[in-house]
C-alpha cells in the first residue's frame, strides 16, 4: 500500500512539474491530465470511489477537453511566455513556495514520524432493546430498564456491576419496549464503541432488586446489536443478544430476519405464496393438501434468529412443523427491495402452549451505505444539502448564460468594427499632421495626395 501511494504521488508531482515547465500549452494540458488521473487514483485509495469517477469524467474528461479545445482553437500552443523583467518574480515565487512548504510540512511531518499514531475516531455502535415477552400473566417482566455501563473491569458479578453503576460510570438506560402495540419498531441508540456491561433490571430506578441480566457486551465500531427479552419454556425471563447486519441487501432484494421467542417450539417458516396470487388465503387445514411449500427458515430454535434475503414480491408466510404441515398462517407479507426488517414470533399472551403468532414487526433503519459510496453521498447531498445543490445548479445556469453572452457572434463583429474604426481614425489624421508639421512627405507622394485630396498642398507653404 505504501509503495502504491509513493508511486502515484511521485507521478502526480512530476506531472505537475512538467505541466509548469513545458513551453507548449498542449503538452502542459496533457501532463495536467496525468496529474488529475493520479488524484483520481488517490481518491480510490481514500475510500471515495464516486468522487474518483467524477474526477475522471468531469476533470480529466470535460474540463481538460475544454482546455485543449480552446488551446487548439486559438492556436496558442507556444505563446511567448515571460517578459524578461518578470523573471525575478519566478525566483521570488519559488522561494516563497519552498518556505511555505517547510512551514506547513513541519508540524505534519513531526506528527507523522512521532511514535504516537493519531488515533482515528471510531464509528459509533448501535444498540436497541426489544421486549418480546407476551403481556398478561408475566406482569413482573413487562416494565424494565436496560443499562449499559462502561468500562468493564474484571469479572462480572451482579454486585460489582451495580457498584460500578452507583459510582457513576457511563450509564445509559433504555426504557423497555412494552409489548402489545402493533408497531413494535424500536430505534437504535448510538453508543461509542467499546466494552460494556449490559445490565437489565426491574425498573425501580436503582436496580435495587438486583439485575435480572448482566453480561459483558463488546460493541465493535459500526456494529449494530439487538438485545431481546423473551420468556423460556419454564416461564422465566431470558435475554439474548444478537448482532444485526445492517449492510445493504443485494440489489433488488430485502433482508428478512426472524427471531423465535416462542417459549417451547422450534419454528419452521414456509412460503405458501401461490395462494395469495389467487386472492384466497387457505386456512390451516386446507393448505397442507394443496401446495408444495417453500421452506424459508428451517427449524429455528427458541432464542435464535435467522436471516435470509427475499426477492421483491408478495409472500404468504406460514409456520410449519417438521413434516411441513402448516400450523398457522401468518398472512401475506409484502417484501420491498432494500428494506431490512426483523420480525419476532411469540405465542399469544395469556395462553400457554398456544400456537405461535406473528406479533411484532420491527422495521430497521434503512441500510447503512458504505462510506464514500454513491448511495451515501447521494443521501447526504439530497437530504442535508438540498439548498446548496440547488444554488450550485443556479450557478451553473448563470455560467451557461454568461458563456453564451460572452461568445455570441455579434460580440466579435462589434469588436472588429471598433478595431477598424480606431485604425481609420488614427491613421488618416496622423499622416497629414506629421506631414504638415515636418513639411516633408511621410508617405509616397501619390498615396498622400490621394489621402489629403490635393498635390503638395502642405509642402508648398
Amino acid at each position: 500500500m505504501e509503495w502504491l501511494f509513493l508511486i502515484v504521488s511521485i507521478v502526480a508531482v512530476v506531472a505537475a512539474g512538467m505541466m509548469l515547465t513545458r513551453q507548449n500549452a498542449v503538452h502542459s494540458a496533457l501532463f495536467l491530465i496525468v496529474n488529475f488521473a493520479c488524484v483520481a487514483f488517490l481518491y480510490l485509495m481514500l475510500d471515495a470511489p464516486f468522487l474518483a469517477m467524477v474526477q475522471v469524467t468531469v476533470y480529466t474528461g470535460a474540463i481538460m477537453v475544454l482546455f485543449l479545445f480552446v488551446i487548439m482553437l486559438l492556436g496558442a500552443e507556444t505563446t511567448s511566455d515571460t517578459s524578461s523583467n518578470m523573471r525575478w518574480l519566478s525566483f521570488a515565487g519559488t522561494a516563497v513556495a519552498i518556505i511555505l512548504l517547510l512551514i506547513f510540512a513541519f508540524p505534519i511531518a513531526s506528527n507523522m514520524f512521532g511514535d504516537d499514531a493519531a488515533a482515528q475516531p471510531e464509528a459509533p455502535a448501535q444498540i436497541r432493546v426489544i421486549n418480546a415477552i407476551p403481556g398478561g400473566e408475566t406482569e413482573e417482566f413487562t416494565v424494565m430498564e436496560m443499562g449499559f455501563a462502561m468500562p468493564l473491569a474484571g469479572n462480572i458479578s451482579g454486585n460489582v456491576l451495580l457498584d460500578a453503576l452507583d459510582e457513576g460510570a457511563q450509564d445509559l438506560r433504555f426504557d423497555a419496549v412494552t409489548y402489545g402495540a402493533t408497531d413494535m419498531s424500536q430505534p437504535y441508540t448510538s453508543l461509542a464503541a467499546g466494552e460494556y456491561a449490559a445490565i437489565a433490571g426491574v425498573s425501580d430506578g436503582v436496580y435495587a432488586s438486583g439485575p435480572v441480566y448482566s453480561q459483558p457486551l463488546a460493541l465493535a465500531p459500526g456494529s449494530a446489536h439487538t438485545v431481546f427479552f423473551f420468556e423460556n419454556a419454564e416461564g422465566l425471563l431470558e435475554v439474548a443478544q444478537r448482532e444485526d447486519n445492517l449492510s445493504a441487501p443485494s440489489v433488488g432484494k430485502m433482508r428478512f430476519t426472524l427471531f423465535n421467542a416462542v417459549p417451547d417450539k422450534q419454528v419452521t417458516l414456509v412460503d405458501i405464496g401461490q395462494y395469495s396470487a389467487r386472492g384466497t388465503l387457505c386456512d390451516d387445514s386446507a393448505c397442507n393438501s394443496l401446495i408444495p411449500h417453500r421452506t424459508l427458515i428451517d427449524e429455528l430454535p427458541v432464542g435464535e434468529q435467522a436471516s435470509l434475503e427475499l426477492d421483491e414480491g408478495v409472500y404468504n408466510l406460514a409456520i410449519a412443523d417438521q413434516e411441513q404441515n402448516v400450523l398457522r398462517t401468518l398472512g401475506s407479507y409484502d417484501a420491498e427491495r432494500g428494506v431490512i426488517e426483523t420480525r419476532i414470533l411469540t405465542r399469544e399472551p395469556g395462553i400457554p402452549g398456544s400456537l405461535p403468532r406473528y406479533r411484532a414487526a420491527v422495521s430497521d433503519a434503512v441500510a447503512v451505505p458504505a462510506f464514500g459510496s454513491p448511495e451515501s453521498l447521494g443521501q447526504v447531498l439530497f437530504i442535508e444539502y438540498v439548498l446548496p445543490v440547488m444554488l450550485v445548479g443556479v450557478l451553473l445556469l448563470v455560467a451557461l448564460i454568461g458563456v453564451i453572452v460572452l461568445a455570441r457572434p455579434d460580440a466579435l463583429a462589434q469588436a472588429e468594427r471598433r478595431r477598424v474604426n480606431r485604425r481609420r481614425r488614427v491613421n488618416r489624421p496622423l499622416v497629414s499632421v506629421i506631414s504638415q508639421q515636418t513639411g516633408s512627405d511621410v508617405m509616397q507622394g501619390e498615396y498622400l495626395a490621394k489621402l489629403t485630396g490635393g498635390p503638395d498642398d502642405s509642402s508648398a507653404e
Partner: protein, 102 residues
C-alpha cells in the same frame, strides 16, 4: 485496511498546491494560469477527501463535489473570456493586459 495515514495525503496536497501557486506566479500564458488554478483546486480537494476519511464523515466529499461544480463553471466562463481577449488583441499573455494599470 488502509495502511496510509492522513498526513502523507496532506503533504502531497500541499506540494501540489504550492506548485499550482508557483504556476500562477511564474507563467504568463493565461491558459496555463487557469490550469495552475485547477491544480490548486484539485490539491485542496485531495486534502478534503483525506480529512473526510480521517473523520468518517461524507460531508467532505460533498464539499469536493461542490468545488468540482464551481470549478467547471469557472473554467467555462474563464475560457470564454480568454477566447474573447484573444479575438481582441491576438495575444493571451497576461502582461499585455494592462488597461487597468495592473
Amino acid at each position: 485496511m488502509n495502511a496510509i495515514g492522513t498526513e502523507p495525503y496532506i503533504i502531497l496536497s500541499m506540494v501540489l498546491f504550492l506548485m499550482g501557486a508557483l504556476g500562477v506566479l511564474m507563467r504568463r500564458n493565461a491558459i496555463l494560469l487557469f490550469m495552475s488554478v485547477e491544480l490548486m483546486l484539485n490539491s485542496a480537494n485531495l486534502a478534503l477527501v483525506a480529512f473526510a476519511r480521517e473523520w468518517g464523515q461524507v460531508n467532505g466529499h460533498v464539499f469536493v463535489f461542490f468545488v468540482m461544480t464551481v470549478a467547471a463553471a469557472e473554467v467555462a466562463i474563464g475560457l470564454a473570456l480568454i477566447v474573447n481577449i484573444f479575438r481582441e488583441r491576438r495575444s493571451i499573455n497576461i502582461d499585455d493586459l494592462r488597461q487597468m494599470q495592473g
